[in-house]
């Protein structure tokens, strides 16, 4: 469902990051993507390093608590493996842009960006006046991805999706998109969602696909914890181009699916 040149959002705020779906995009050798994501994280470091991206729309591009995303930096600083255009926001602006997209509004309004240099480099940040008070507020155009991909804990057999814990902007990202894909830890007979839970009814979701462990090395609350050690290891894997390329070839391109990827990683650990 992802095509070359698409604008794609893979969301999940530290939690439920759709790594399995990201790997599949790499395996399918998609090119020229505009990638949207608040926190690019390891998943976009991999997509960028693998040459899938032409542009990144984001607000914080680091390896949380560890340091840099070396593939992102290499693309920005040295155009490797290809130049990467940046459309840079702050989190508040990204959140407002997704919410506007979900709301079918052309723009979102926020009290933001005042005094910062971001509007100088991102023409999509403008300032408007309140029609009642004259106050100056920031405006950002709505995000409307061609495809949004998120990972969730459960779906029922009809395709209704349930997620809980840190839910980030996943709901907004799905509702803002033209098409959407949800990978889930498991498909169950009954969702048994608590009242007011975050549920995506089947009729607003394009496709649902069970991928156990599909958020690794991020986490799925109630299923497995964040693999903080892998996040730390990534710093070494991605620091040099060669090491990164070997890793991607061996564990992503060299495997058929996410299950294969996980087995390949385990084998590597055993032989280390």
């Amino acid at each position: 469902m992802v095509r070359d040149g698409d604008t794609v959002a893979l969301e999940g705020f530290t939690h439920l990051i759709p790594f399995a779906a990201g790997h599949e995009i790499i395996r399918q050798r998609r090119r020229n993507l505009t990638l949207i994501r608040m926190t690019p994280d390891l998943i976009y470091d991999q997509l960028i390093g693998a040459g899938c991206a032409a542009k990144l729309v984001f607000s914080w591009g680091g390896n949380p608590g560890v340091g840099s995303l070396h593939r992102l930096r290499d693309a920005v600083e040295n155009d490797w493996p290809a130049p990467l255009a940046l459309e840079e926001h702050a989190h508040a602006g990204m959140a407002a842009a997704y919410a506007a997209g979900a709301s079918h509004l052309p723009f979102g309004v926020l009290r933001g960006y005042l005094g910062t240099d971001l509007p100088k480099y991102n023409p999509k940040i403008k300032f408007i006046e309140c029609p009642f008070t004259g106050e100056k507020l920031a405006a950002v155009p709505a995000h409307r991805p061609d495809v949004t991909v998120v990972h969730a804990q459960k779906a029922d057999r009809k395709g209704n999706v349930l997620m809980w814990g840190v839910v980030g902007v996943q709901k907004e990202a799905v509702l803002a998109a033209k098409r959407s894909i949800v990978t889930v830890e498991e498909i169950v007979d009954r969702l048994d969602a608590p009242p007011n839970a975050v549920v995506l009814p089947s009729w607003v979701v394009g496709a649902v696909c069970a991928v156990k462990g599909g958020a690794f090395p991020s986490y799925a609350q109630g299923y497995y914890p964040r693999n903080n050690a892998f996040y730390k290891q990534w710093d070494g894997i991605a620091r040099e181009r060669e090491g990164f390329q070997q890793w991607i070839e061996r564990h992503v391109m060299g495997t058929k699916d996410f299950d294969g990827f996980q087995r390949s990683l385990e084998a590597a650990v055993k032989h280390a």
Binding site: G61, G65, E77, A92, R111, G112, G115, V169, Q233
Partner: protein, 259 residues
């Protein structure tokens, strides 16, 4: 300070933690802010409400999270909201007492850069970027900033202004109608700087034990003002050191054995 019995980073974290008033609601970033906030919560400020931008409100982690959205944050939270709600209703809503930021560069008016070193379009170092910082800096009632003190960080001119402090000083922040009061202290591994009440220029007001004013001035990229009555930061208490070290030890163990 090899014989002080604590490191300068520990002094910085502890000095930062002391600035947190019990009962305050606190918007916390990862790294030193998170360590200081949790240290405060485990010592003098047990009623502190810790808020991480992942949407977790009132969390009580037993170890320091590596990311701002680790599972323990949501498991121990009083409420977990979506990220758009966090930024709209909670941060922009003006209900957070204290924001706590780090920085790669800071200028004399406590404006900060976390975006790039060098030119934006051809940076020598691409940093992670803004994240929640610009609106934390704008909307929290007060802001604390913590970073290591050296000339690469304390610069005469920022390469990029990511988050607004006191802008060009004086009343320029007020004129820009930023909702919060802005930075009220910068805590470093050498001492504490606070903005002059009128000019808003950062002034060295406290030295950590064993540090000289000359050393701080030398480590600052602009001619740093030094308060006439310079205080000395109280050294870490035994309790502060023990709780911080326990916390760091628990954290290290928790983040190791998985991969």
């Amino acid at each position: 300070m090899p014989d002080a019995g604590y490191s300068s980073d520990e002094m910085m974290t502890i000095a930062a933690a002391r600035m947190i008033r019990n009962g305050a609601s606190l918007f916390v970033g990862i790294g030193l802010p998170s360590a200081a906030a949790n240290l405060a919560r485990l010592t003098h400020a047990p009623e502190t409400v810790l808020i991480y931008e992942s949407g977790t409100i009132g969390t009580k982690p037993s170890v320091l999270p590596l990311s701002i959205g680790d599972g323990e944050l949501s498991e121990t939270a009083e409420s977990v909201v979506s990220v758009p709600e966090m930024f709209a209703y909670w941060l922009q809503g003006g209900r957070i007492d204290l924001g706590f930021l780090g920085a790669a560069q800071i200028d004399r008016f406590a404006n900060i850069n976390t975006t790039v070193i060098g030119d934006y379009r051809k940076p020598s170092t691409r940093l992670p970027g803004a994240g929640g910082a610009p609106e934390i800096a704008a909307s929290c009632k007060e802001v604390l900033i913590a970073l290591r003190h050296n000339k690469r960080a304390f610069v005469n001119k920022l390469d990029f202004l990511t988050s607004s402090g006191h802008m060009e000083g004086g009343d320029s922040r007020e004129r820009m109608k930023l909702p919060g009061k802005g930075p009220t202290a910068v805590i470093t591994d050498l001492g504490i700087l606070t903005p002059d009440p009128v000019t808003r220029e950062l002034t060295l007001t406290s030295l950590h034990p064993g540090v000289t004013a000359e050393k701080v001035v030398e480590s600052t990229g602009w001619p740093l003002k030094v308060a006439p009555k310079l205080e000395t930061t109280a050294p870490p208490s035994e309790t502060e050191l023990r709780v911080l070290r326990d916390l760091n030890e628990r954290t290290k163990r928790a983040h190791a054995g998985q991969a």
